[in-house]
Amino acid sequence: MSKREKTDTTGFDPRRRKALGEMAKHVAGATVAAAAIAGFARQSGALPATTLRPPGALPENEFQSACVRCGLCVRDCPYDTLKLAEWGDGPAIGTPYFIARDIPCEMCPDIPCVKACPTGALAHGLTDIDDARMGVASLVGRETCLNMLGLRCDVCYRVCPLIDEAITLETTHNTRTGRHAVFEPFVHSEICTGCGKCEKSCVLDEAAIKVLPVALATGEIGGHYRLGWEEKDRAGGEMVPGLIELPVRVPEASR
């Protein structure tokens, strides 16, 4: 009763003060813990360019919210391509990845890794492996690639599961010899699945062709750009007929 009176007259209650103190301690502790974990999580969110996600993997930031690190995709990969990341491997710990130069994706038509994924971190919408976008092959070693030196290696082109679609050989004049052609392995980024078979089979000590994350390997044109020739095709003719009249410089005699 006396305690009650005291509370009423002064507004001070030692029990309440203690409870509030406890509360503050826990809130502070939880905030520190949350901040520490969140900071750690953000740091672990970056995927190194040398590591590739399995087919169908959501974009990296979404993948981090979806992958429960169960390893079922690893178990169902018939070629032991996939691994779960350890500390220091680069990708967030426990998440699946592969390194093309070690074991590339063999592009199974039934995509067992995607089927095994319980959460959809590997999107189940991927039903045709040719639609996979694990990355994009890029001829980064243009000065070391044997084909670019004018030789006929062609291995990356030959092993490509989408030969003549994802990689084509584009011929240009060989200025060194003056009489031969250079057969440049040319990657078509809209078709390349990023399986990495080209990188794996490149005969150089360090692969001249490498699979890179799509964003690293491709540019992106500004959304405001309009390519005149495409607009013209779409419109079925000149956009503004007769806008530019250019002077005719052909000699009078040959008109």
């Binding site: 939880a30 974990i37 930031n61 429960v68 690190r69 079922l72 710990i93 319980p118």
Partner: protein, 305 residues
Amino acid sequence: MSVKRIPGVEARRKHGFLTANRWLIARRLAQLGFFMLFAAGPWFGVWIVKGTLSSSLTLETLPLTDPLILLQALVAGHKPELTALLGAAIVLGAYLVLGGRLYCSWVCPINPVTDLAAWARRRLGIETDWKIRPQARLWVLGAVLAASAATGTIAFELINPITTLYRGLLFGASWGLASVLLVFLLDLFVARHGWCGHVCPVGAFYGIVNRTAGLRVSASGRARCDDCMDCYAVCPEMHVIAPALKGDRTGTGPVILAPDCTTCGRCIDICPERVFRFTHRFDQRLDTPAAEPGATPQPATREAA
């Protein structure tokens, strides 16, 4: 009083090694058994359960998913496939019926680690402890969910020693196993039952699930209790015992209903007077002194109280 009582010695003397360690042995076998279901595939090529504790597929049909990990995925903004939702619902349903913290004492691979630390603490007489309440883990659970929501990741899986240990053993040893060592050192030197009893958000989550636990320990023979304190010494959540054991005074039933109880059954083993037993949560029966063969000579005085 100068000689320190070692819990378990008297139970062993009175009832023999097997009876005094029955549930401990059963629990170790269960922990090993669950692990071997996973390990038989990668180790011996006999595929029973594929995956890890976070998500698995049993005999190519039964999907199971850790509900807390899926909850983190949900707050991180991912809409999971049906397989994971179904798997988590099965796990959650089973633990709601049987008791969530059964996971802690019968499945979790960290339990042997922290039990070893607790045993070593008792044997080495390490008394250090921190002033932190068991409820702190609920705040850690909140912090984990907040971190998941804020970063859009399954945040706790970056450090979770439970799944790290399973993954390390099933998919190749990992530096992440250092987190298991940290848990051991925390429990040994810093705090009594520090990890499982104060920090672990998985335990906190299953503690919430444990409120409807069907399988419970009852102090049905509480009239025989001679206050040797052995059960308190070995209990990983010692605050759960008193309400049921001393319920005579407050008119509380003998069943340990506190959601923190992991239903490990160590108190059943360790009690020289055989006060405790496994039962269901609605079993309010008390032992009748006459019907109990293990009854001590003078329980009647207590029974009268």
